[in-house]
């Protein structure tokens, strides 16, 4: 679930959307935002989690991203635990623009 004070279980990732373009992003190991989830930092280290939290809040205040929240990660697969978040990582399974190759 979207929780900021991550009450979540297991490894955590931090996610948000870019303010300008709206795309989903995750914090990577350098605490920069990436559109590529495979580069996302996934950790149980509470110090790191605190730093992620701080970084996300700072960037939200700096108007780089909106809607920051932690997501639970499945330790076995490294993927988000919730179905919605798994889905968000991949983008739409269908998009008319892709089917027709128009953009």
């Amino acid at each position: 679930m979207s929780t900021l004070k991550h009450k979540g279980k297991g490894p955590q990732s931090m996610t948000a959307n870019e303010l300008r373009d709206g795309f989903s992003v995750w914090l990577d190991e350098n605490l920069d935002w990436t559109r590529d989830f495979t580069k996302a930092l996934r950790t149980e280290d509470t110090d790191l989690i605190d730093r992620m939290h701080l970084r996300a809040e700072t960037d939200e205040k700096a108007n780089l991203v909106v809607g920051i929240y932690f997501i639970d990660i499945e330790p076995e697969t490294g993927l988000p635990a919730r179905y919605r978040e798994k889905f968000r990582v991949n983008g739409p399974s269908y998009d008319t623009a892709d089917v027709l190759e128009i953009s």
Partner: protein, 549 residues
């Protein structure tokens, strides 16, 4: 045709300019997201699962070719080359970028369009029979009345912060193509025994997590009293509607909890306190608005011209399309043409920029420059000469818009679901595609006859699944999508909420199950029965049997 009057033009211009400033301040960090969010929603801009989404209002589903070309321009310049027609007759763009949105709104304003009232707890965009002004079934064109409501409700100070959003639908025909009984208020223009035109008012309908069919609030309201009466109804709602719980805040819950008799008494009591002359609209004003919708200059023609009937004889594809997609027009020699946005390969309701331009050209050539969007997520060219139908059909074929499946099993209503929507619990587009694939054979579709399948990706029911002959609701449990089936829903003037069959299905089971139910219907049906009729006659049990076999 809807056009702003000066008040609107000023308002939209002010709004667009304000919003440009707000976006600039947001991007510069002078507005926080908490401050900005309500402002962007007021201008139709949502943040979805993967990106922003802009919802453009199409008042009562009426568009001219110039406006549709502008939507094509937006799709191409600022989005990914296509748009999506919604069940509220609006158009959504799935991939706009925040800095572009003020330009998009400016472009829209240049053709008298906007995205106001597509969000928020206000009176939303009024929806309407897409055949308005064209069908012989109507008492009169309902759009002037829809426009009157729009002008009255736009930023109405008393009704800008209702307990919850408020949706009004209107029709002037007995045959309901606007789903008026599933709206907060539904209005049917009728003629009483004395021959006077007035309004039958329904209240308290809605879909969403608590689906309810609207009930009659007033059997006959004289013509001049509409706005005063709506004011009374909205005041009662504003006063007693629940603000403590957003799931109980719609007027349908208030009507249900109060009971229709008491609710009606409350409205009538409030109405008695209103000085009708304060709010009533003068005949002159009504005529001014009606003049925007003046019928085009129809030629004096005969029905069934030879060119048309000959073409029906020799051109089988044309004949199948004309039989299924074309409806009777009030003017002799004309026809109403439905353009299906449900080709097998694409998501229901999606249309490319190139196709939007093609349809705009066709509207100019064949339909007085007019077109409509429908809550079934299709388009309509309202005024086509029968003698032009073959030429139009040929152009539609070239544009990939000649699917002859209107009202058939592949004419599916489908919300964006998890592929785009932040609130979804499951995908809906792949389900509609799997059904379209399974029933691809056009001959089989025609054998099955009228069938309305409607799919929503969560309980908000944007895909109208409660009123589908077969309704499908996407849910998720432990990371797996599954789909619940409802049977026997009806979106027509005989509106009804479908019944849940029982536990849900995986996608494969679902498609097999639908096929089994269709086969059962084909075996059991009596002459002239649609799926829905057979279901009503034999009941849910035999269908459950083949579903859960």
């Amino acid at each position: 045709m809807y056009r702003y009057d000066e008040f609107d033009a000023q308002l939209v211009a002010d709004r667009t300019r304000q919003f440009r400033g707000q976006v600039e301040r947001r991007l510069a960090g002078r507005l926080s997201e908490a401050e900005f969010r309500p402002l962007r929603l007021m201008n139709g801009l949502y943040l979805q699962l993967h990106a922003y989404m802009l919802r453009v209002a199409v008042p009562y589903g009426t568009l001219n070719s110039e406006q549709f070309r502008m939507l094509a321009h937006l799709a191409e310049k600022y989005d990914r080359g296509y748009g999506h027609v919604t069940t509220r007759q609006n158009m959504q763009f799935n991939w706009p970028k925040l800095p572009d949105v003020p330009d998009m709104l400016d472009d829209l304003a240049s053709v008298q369009m906007h995205a106001i009232q597509t969000s928020g707890n206000c009176i939303r965009n009024v929806t309407c029979d897409p055949y308005a002004g064209a069908t012989a079934e109507e008492v009169e064109d309902p759009r002037p009345m829809a426009e009157l409501i729009r002008q009255w409700s736009t930023l109405h100070p008393e009704f800008t912060f209702l307990p919850r959003k408020f949706k009004i639908a209107v029709t002037a025909a007995e045959k309901d193509r606007a789903l008026i009984k599933a709206h907060d208020i539904g209005i049917q223009i009728i003629r009483n025994a004395a021959g006077d035109i007035g309004y039958k008012i329904y209240v308290g309908g809605g879909l969403g997590r608590t689906p309810i069919i609207g009930q009659v609030l007033r059997e006959f309201l004289p013509k001049g009293e509409l706005l005063a009466y709506l004011t009374a109804a909205l005041r009662v709602y504003n006063r007693y509607g629940r603000r403590d719980n957003k799931y109980k805040a719609r007027i349908k819950i208030l009507v249900q909890e109060t009971g229709i008799e008491t609710f009606t008494e409350q409205v009538e009591a409030e109405y008695a306190t209103i000085d009708i002359s304060d709010i009533s609209v003068s005949d002159a004003e009504r005529e001014r608005i009606a003049s925007y919708f003046a019928a085009p200059d129809f030629e004096t023609l005969e029905n069934d011209p030879k060119a048309f009937t000959d073409a029906l004889q020799v051109n089988n594809a044309f004949s199948l399309w004309a039989n299924n997609n074309v409806a009777a027009h009030k003017a002799a020699g004309y026809a109403i043409v439905n353009i299906s946005l449900k080709p097998k390969e694409l998501a229901p309701g999606d249309i490319t920029a190139a196709q939007m331009r093609d349809v705009s050209d066709m509207a100019d050539t064949y339909s007085f420059g007019e077109l409509r969007s429908t809550h079934q997520q299709n388009l309509v060219l309202p005024h086509v000469k029968q003698s032009d139908l073959l030429a139009l059909f040929t152009e539609l074929q070239a544009a990939g818009l000649a699917a002859d499946n209107i009202n058939l099993i592949t004419d599916i209503i489908c919300c964006p679901g998890m592929d785009f929507c932040a609130l979804a619990t499951a995908r809906s587009i792949p389900i509609s595609q799997a059904i379209a694939e399974r029933f691809a054979d056009p001959e089989r579709q025609r054998t099955i006859g009228e069938m309305q399948i409607k799919i929503s990706g969560c309980i908000n029911a944007c895909g109208h699944h409660h009123v589908g002959h077969i309704g499908i609701l996407g849910l998720e449990k432990a990371g797996v999508e599954f789909y619940q089936i409802k049977l026997g829903g009806d979106a027509s003037e005989h509106a009804e909420i479908g019944k849940v069959t029982g536990p849900g299905f995986s996608q494969e089971e679902l498609i097999d199950g639908i096929e089994n139910m269709v086969d059962l219907y084909l075996k059991q049906r009596e002459a002239g029965e649609r799926f829905l009729d057979t279901y009503r006659r034999i009941g849910i049990a035999p269908f459950k049997e083949v579903l859960y076999a």
